[in-house]
Symmetry: C2
Subunit: 145 residues, 2 copies
């Protein structure tokens, strides 16, 4: 690591580029949640809660994730206090991860967003396809209000 933490953007308020992105907590949260693997990781850990999952087990449950991104994502979550890391000092070390209470509380609004996504993303896909092919006649509008 050169200057910043590996898993996040500017974690230091007061360094540089601070006035532009003031203090809006929503943006800070979306910077983490919007990260490609964060929400998936939280979801998988939430499904296993209150149990723990080991690194390899997490990898298996998150299809497509690389070991680097899993590592980076988990470090971010641990830094944020959303995930607790427990190392068993055995000969091949066994590391266990679980959601903290804070992490579990995030699962609720995240699940709401997931629910919305599964309900309405097909409609969004339809709208995008309509926008891509204006070749048809007319009168085919995306679902407006």
């Amino acid at each position: 690591m050169t200057t910043s933490a590996p898993g996040g953007r500017e974690r230091r308020p007061g360094r540089r580029g601070d006035l532009l992105d003031p203090l809006c907590p929503t943006r800070q949260l979306l910077d983490r949640v919007g990260t490609k693997w964060t929400s998936m990781t939280v979801k998988v850990l939430a499904e296993a809660a209150p149990g723990e999952l080991r690194f390899a087990e997490l990898r298996r449950r998150i299809p497509g994730i690389s070991q680097k991104m899993l590592s980076v994502t988990l470090q971010s979550l641990v830094r944020d206090g959303l995930v607790a890391r427990r190392v068993e000092p055995t000969v091949p070390p066994a590391v266990h991860y679980r959601l903290t209470a804070l992490g579990l509380s995030l699962e609720t609004p995240l699940a709401a967003l997931r629910d919305w996504a599964e309900t309405h993303m097909p409609e969004i896909d339809r709208n995008n396809r309509l926008a891509d092919e204006p070749a048809s006649g007319q009168g085919a509008r995306p679902t407006e209000s």
Copy 2:
């Protein structure tokens, strides 16, 4: 534009790189919502709903956004059918934006996420500061469960 739409990632399912990111609607949604200005734009439009806002008015209400990013963000939202665009063909053209019913329905889970952020981000910030300064004695742990 070379190949893809300006405001979005791969909008075409079935092109390439499809097997890795299968069909998970949550990721698709977070790819949009996680985009820097999308959630803020939706929020501002939701506050004005069912009224409309013009381009310059939106810029004023979203501090720090560039006109390019506002343009790109709005185009994405319009493509998705979350925002409706109405052009008044006057001499200096007046363009009005408003949330569609779909966009308004997204506001609900988004507000839940905002609420969580405002409640818990201070704690996350605290946890990050604790992780940055291990210089203190001991016993100061982030708020675990």
